[in-house]
């Protein structure tokens, strides 16, 4: 069937921003924020940028920031997609505990490591799929749907480990948490690969556009012929996958699965990272690399607080201050006050 089509793009809006990727990148507020935090760290601790080569791998505070920030960065990759669909996944911390528990129990009961890793990732996929089914088939609000698994998930993880902290000495699992590849810590390598792959898949295909469409208006997307439910299932399953990977890293790092504390409150850090990265909680436009950058900003602040001698609890106060500043910057109120701000301008 052919129909005359008209170009309905409004002419008042420029079709695309001018593509000056590098200059554009360095004027992003997130990049400036990260640079500022790193600068403060450098002033507090002059050796901050020193990176040394020892035993075939890099050492230094900067590498440490990357390494410690990797689990949250990986969670943030999955979380970005979920938040872009106007959802949220509160269960990722609990899923981390489950995947760590599965891997640890499998290797301690004699299964080969590759099977344990597969099973842990499988557990994460199942958890994500469960969330997705609650959100799509039962049409439950995402916060609540994932709350079920957030509450029950730690219980399940403890059920798997039977209440103990299961320690292991399997070289493969430990390598995932503490090994190194080309001099970089393994968690950093995994996070980077995941980020690049996810960004490529989302941006080189129509997937990213479709996710944004669902996030902006789910019914409209469905009427436009998108299978919104299938997309949501994929997105939540992917978030579960990311959580499983992060859980493996954390378990490998401490050489054990701690069902109570693995990934505790990390879901909130991941959400914060995504919000810092400029993805709106109301769905729509999203950026995976910016969310990863957000995770790095959080970790750089944590490290800065630690090396400046404040107690680690001080982190929470700083974090809340950051959220408050971002909220004020992103609110319609300040957008009205400062009309010309380029980055808060998300017109409705």
């Amino acid at each position: 069937m052919t129909r005359p089509t008209a170009d309905i793009r409004p002419t008042s809006e420029p079709p695309l921003p001018p593509s000056r990727p590098l200059a554009h990148f360095f004027t992003r507020p997130q990049v400036i924020a990260l640079a500022a935090v790193l600068l403060v760290n450098w002033i507090l601790f002059p050796g901050f940028f020193t990176v040394t080569w020892q035993d075939g791998r890099f050492f230094g505070s900067l590498i440490d920031v990357l390494n410690r920030g990797a689990p949250v960065a990986i969670l943030a990759i999955g979380m970005t997609m979920v938040i872009a669909t106007k959802g949220v996944d509160l269960s990722v911390g609990a899923v981390m505990a489950i995947s760590g528990a599965v891997a640890a129990v499998m290797v301690t009961s004699g299964y080969p490591a590759w099977l344990a890793v597969l099973a842990a990732v499988g557990a994460g996929l199942v958890c994500g799929l469960w969330n997705g089914i609650l959100v799509t088939v039962l049409e439950i609000q995402p916060i609540i749907a994932t709350l079920v698994l957030m509450v029950a998930g730690r219980g399940l993880a403890q059920l798997i480990t039977e209440g103990y902290i299961v320690t292991f000495s399997d070289p493969v699992l430990i390598f995932i948490g503490t090994g190194s590849f080309l001099g970089f810590p393994m968690p950093v390598v995994i996070a980077a690969v995941l980020m690049v792959l996810a960004t490529l898949i989302v941006r080189r295909t129509a997937l990213g556009l479709l996710i944004e469409a669902v996030g902006v208006n789910r019914s409209a997307a469905r009427f436009a012929g998108l299978s919104a439910n299938a997309l949501l299932l994929i997105v939540y399953t992917f978030a579960g996958f990311c959580a499983a990977i992060a859980g493996l890293i954390v378990a490998g790092d401490i050489r054990g699965a701690d069902a109570n504390n693995a990934g505790l409150w990390l879901e909130l850090d991941a959400i914060l990272a995504v919000v810092i990265g400029g993805t709106s909680l109301m769905g729509g436009r999203f950026s995976i690399p910016m969310a990863v950058l957000g995770a790095m900003i959080i970790q750089a602040m944590n490290t800065g607080i630690l090396i400046s001698g404040f107690s680690p609890q001080f982190n929470l106060v700083v974090k809340s201050a950051v959220i408050i500043v971002i909220l004020i910057l992103q609110s319609p109120l300040s957008a009205q006050l400062v009309r010309r701000r380029p980055f808060t301008g998300t017109p409705k």
Partner: protein, 319 residues
């Protein structure tokens, strides 16, 4: 009967059925002692859940509840032990601070037009962080007032004790039921939960009500902190970790719709009691481990969400 009462009835029936099953297995659970302990042990959760009920009725969510409880316990401990204030003065200060904290969050939610989820998340970080900045260590409270309170109770027939803490919770529920169902503030909360735009068009003072709701939630979280402080005689910044989740679970199990606009405060009471029952049953059984509590509460949460979907899908469609 009125179909809107069905979820409440379902919750009540499930509680009675579960209690009956528990009593059949452990006859000693049927005593006023156990019931009295239900009230005492879950008092702080119940009080916090009342505040959460109002927030959820208005279509929002308050993640800062647990952190505010923790902060209040530390503040009270600091005021009593370091500043030598009388506990009642300390309570008044702590309640004022908690209510103001909630009011500020409410104002931020209304005027900055950001989701309540992210504002209260910031509030949670701030309260937890503030508490650990006040004192990173646990502070024990020794005061005659505390000993007097912990020794005063009403003896129920059968040897059960209705403690002061339990009575505070019952009083809070009684006042909250009147506030929700018999006052203008209550109907404004329901109106905002139904649809904020319609409520504003009908002349509901949205700004004042939103700030009031979060101030109330903050105040009740503060009161829960007072109760927690009386219950444990200590202040610690990590007290009541994750209570916000238990409170949300209690509200949902109690039949309140998470999209707002529908629910009963009385349902929340049953939701809290049901969680208490699960914990007590696990203690009585002895062979089950404590993590079963989390799993059972998660399963209950899931059941009630599905139940709500079914009941409201069968009803007349709104869209």
């Amino acid at each position: 009967m009125n179909r809107s009462l069905r979820p409440l009835l379902a919750t009540a029936l499930i509680f009675l059925f579960a209690y009956l099953l528990a009593v059949l297995q452990h006859p000693s659970m049927f005593s006023t002692r156990v019931l009295g302990n239900f009230l005492t042990d879950n008092a702080f959760l119940g009080i916090a859940a009342v505040g959460m009920t109002f927030v959820i009725l208005s279509g929002g969510i308050d993640l800062s509840v647990g952190a505010v409880i923790g902060f209040t316990t530390v503040l009270i401990a600091v005021l009593i032990m370091w500043w030598q204030l009388h506990p009642l003065v300390a309570f008044a200060i702590a309640l004022t601070v908690a209510a103001l904290f909630g009011a500020i969050m409410g104002a931020a939610i209304h005027y900055l037009k950001v989701p309540s989820f992210i504002v209260t998340l910031a509030g949670m970080f701030l309260a937890r962080g503030g508490a650990s900045v006040l004192s990173p260590d646990s502070i024990g409270i020794q005061h005659d007032f505390y000993t007097a309170v912990s020794k005063s109770y009403i003896l129920l027939p059968g040897g059960g004790r209705l403690t002061v803490v339990g009575m505070i919770m019952l009083a809070v529920f009684a006042v909250a039921i009147i506030l929700a169902h018999r006052t203008r503030f209550g109907s404004n909360v329901y109106a905002i939960g139904g649809s904020e735009t319609s409520a504003a068009l009908m002349g509901v003072p949205v700004a004042r009500t939103t700030i009031g709701i979060y101030a109330l939630s903050g105040f009740l979280a503060g009161l829960a902190g007072v109760v927690f402080s009386l219950y444990t005689s200590a202040g610690y910044s990590l007290n009541a970790l994750g209570v916000e989740l238990d409170a949300i679970a209690a509200v949902v199990i109690g039949g309140t719709l998470l999209t707002g606009g529908y629910g009963f405060v009385a349902g929340t009471f049953i939701g809290v009691m049901l969680q208490g029952l699960v914990q007590t049953y696990i203690v009585f059984d002895g062979t089950l481990s404590s993590w079963w509590t989390k799993i059972v509460v998660g399963v209950l949460l899931f059941m009630f969400i599905v139940l709500q979907r079914l009941v409201f899908r069968a009803g007349p469609r709104r869209t």
